[in-house]
Symmetry: C2
Subunit: 459 residues, 2 copies
């Protein structure tokens, strides 16, 4: 990776304005490193760097830049430069750029493409957001079954450098329907006059362009391939997806899940890049929903105000009880939501989950119940804050904890499954959401138990 | 992917015991698909499938099986079969298998390897857990700078099929120190008598075997490569890592972060595979720590018992107040922890984060404060549950909410940064942890404010 020292030399040469030395330095590091440097130091004059790069490296560097810098560069380009850049960047990187443009700019940029490139760009943009089609590149090597290995290698020598991957070549019929994929190393291991058809095994894994990107993640994890072909529903080869693009999608999907689980709408961009206003909006939605849900706790406690008036001591344990329920629910929900996201748990496993969580909830609840009872017992030895009926108070707290933890555990684990069953996103049952659900129930359970246990003594 | 229909045919042929037809079917689907089928249907007689597979496919299938099935198979093998399998599977998959074995079995298996393979296996096992070395494979193509392209292609024709990737070949000197990596397609695009040194650019990205796997994730994301070379700290080429293994690591790391964030220790295995006992242990640790922390809420409320006795009405709002603080803290913590995991936020950004979260906390707090006040106001119109001093009660609740939400937001966002500064894992500041922290503070703030606002009226 680019070292701090190299970065300093770079900055110095940029500053000194010695373009020749800058050019020399730029030729010594890779396009990806150059892009990393520019993405990290936005205050530098990156336009100057682009003046000295050779055209091929400039395109490769451009593809790896952040969106804002890409836009700043494009705006600074002449129409010729703009058109040449837009025509040369690879179709998948271009789709990623284009899908963030305002409609007007998009139309202008599309008009600068050659007919062939514009057709490709329009096609890729037609696939739904988050579909496999949006990740696809049309730069791949496709060959016919009756070609010889020699013919194929000649073809690769001519067109290979435009392909996103060299690990696989794709065999299609005359109409372009996918017949097979072949590992490139197989070509290098057989005589040059062998036919492609001799190498074909006629079983391959392919993705469909309209499917969700999550399908692609699963397939890449399953098959350990570096690239997979994408077809339409008839089997016509449309493009390929390479695994480096999938890595970005995995991180994005996990980020979305994590943010939802923390009780906020998923952010559109990086934390520091999203405007404060947008961030507040994303957070306010759930905070208000949860607040309104949580006002039910005040109502529930209001309902038991007669009991509270008689035994204020009961109020002291309310936060302890509801938070224990919330915490155990949060644990269960995380485990299940993540297991569902990874495909380890499906709806069919609901009974297994119920059994496991019932056992866990009972064990953990009993444990916390005993701890709760001990707390009352021990404090009673040192003070008289819990009064003469401390034993009954301790029992109420202990038994409530068992119930609340069990309820928290079961609802935390089963609610995500229920949401899935209803066709909703399980990640909506966030930690705060489960906590709110359990809070209200916990209070009702606590005071109801107190009513029966303490009737005639405290109440 | 393997279709339901194919699965049924498979099951049928397995059941009918027609080995010839089974063999035919098995030859038509890929090793990865076969492994997927076996992993999904553990009750089938997978040993029978292995009897009919050709040796190469059997190895490839074996590499993709779950650990338990790999063990079941190995235990059923004769010593010859066992030894041949262990010697043939690729070094990185073997490390993944070996690191899960009990010491005794590991020693026995190591003794079945050839000297060369045992040396490799022992070397790979010496790297620390979660280090890059554990993911490495030693099957790569390495060439000298003075070779011609023709020599290189001949070399690949002989040894290429053992390599994990064909996209890159690695240039080393006589001693094995890494000089460069070259894309295979460059070889196919130049005359056969060109020298490897003509193709070298002498800048490359490499990983160090002892570094943490997270470094590898960052590098793969940054450079969009399908494989990266791994060296020791002197630059000696030790092996390569391919991106398909990185995909699995990303998912594991994200799962760990998510589970920690939900307030449980990370599970060692899939949710349904971990024993209920182990799961309870993993959850009990944090549940008890949080419970003990949360007993401070009872103490805090006990401290204000005089005030509570006089104004029981105050108790009704405790859950609403503390949960609002917890929810806003949970939101802030998730956003920051994830942003840190992705490298979007570092310690250097602490002041930026503080400013953003101060603004968010103030806005969200004010919003919830107004809602809280309105709740008291509206209920007062319909009932007299809040008494004659409802206005002051409403003000107390509203102002407390502003403070609690701000405190929750700031501590949720800054605590992960503090943990990082202290060299701890930021993910420890889980949603439940932040909630507990905010609960105690929230109660103290609430009753202190109540004391000043309600003195002389309710108190």
């Amino acid at each position: 990776m680019i070292s701090t020292e190299e970065k300093e030399i770079f900055a110095e040469r940029l500053f000194s304005g010695n373009l020749y030395k800058l050019k020399q330095l730029a030729s010594e590091i890779s396009a990806e490193e150059l892009a990393e440097y520019i993405n990290g130091y936005k205050e530098i004059d990156f336009k100057k760097i682009f003046q000295v790069l050779d055209p091929e490296k400039a395109i490769k560097t451009f593809e790896n830049l952040d969106f804002e810098i890409q836009m700043a560069l494009l705006r600074s380009f002449s129409v010729e430069q703009l058109s040449s850049t837009l025509n040369q960047i690879s179709p998948d990187d271009r789709t990623a750029l284009f899908e963030q443009l305002p409609q007007e700019t998009l139309q202008r940029y599309l008009s600068l493409l050659t007919d062939a490139e514009r057709k490709t760009a329009n096609q890729l943009l037609q696939y739904p957001e988050d579909s496999i089609g949006r990740l696809m590149t049309t730069d791949f090597i496709s060959v016919r079954p009756d070609w010889t290995v020699q013919q194929t290698l000649d073809f690769i020598r001519t067109y290979g450098k435009y392909s996103e991957t060299m690990n696989f070549i794709y065999v299609t019929d005359e109409q372009g329907f996918l017949l097979d994929d072949i590992k490139l190393n197989q070509l290098l291991l057989v005589p040059l006059d062998s036919k492609i058809s001799d190498l074909m095994e006629e079983h391959y894994v392919s993705l469909q362009a309209k499917d969700d990107q999550e399908t692609a993640i699963d397939a890449f994890k399953q098959y350990n391939r570096e690239a997979l072909p994408v077809t339409d529903f008839n089997g016509l080869l449309l493009g390929i997806i390479t695994i480096d693009d999938i890595v970005d999608v995995i991180e994005e999907e996990d980020t979305e899940d994590i943010q939802k689980f923390g009780g906020t709408e998923a952010l559109e961009d990086q934390y520091l890049k999203v405007s404060v206003r947008e961030m507040i909006n994303k957070r306010a939605v759930w905070l208000v929903i949860l607040f309104v849900g949580e006002t039910l706790t005040a109502s529930a406690m209001g309902f038991f105000k007669t009991e509270l008036d008689k035994a204020v001591i009961l109020a002291l344990f309310v936060p302890l009880i509801i938070s224990s329920g919330g915490n155990s629910g949060s644990q269960a929900a995380t485990l299940i939501i993540r297991a569902m996201a990874l495909g380890e748990v499906t709806l069919e496993n609901w009974w297994q989950v119920t059994k496991r969580e019932f056992a866990s909830g009972l064990a953990l609840g009993t444990f916390l119940g005993i701890l709760g009872f001990l707390k009352v017992l021990i404090w009673t030895i040192f003070s008289d804050v819990y009064g003469e009926h401390w034993l009954l108070v301790g029992l109420t707290v202990g038994i409530t904890l068992i119930g609340v933890v069990m309820f928290g555990t079961l609802s935390g684990s089963l609610f995500p499954l229920l949401l899935k069953r209803l066709g909703k996103d399980p990640a909506v049952s966030s930690a705060p959401f489960i906590a709110t659900l359990v809070d209200v129930t916990g209070i009702v359970l606590y005071f109801t138990l107190a009513y029966f246990i303490l009737k005639g003594t405290l109440l």
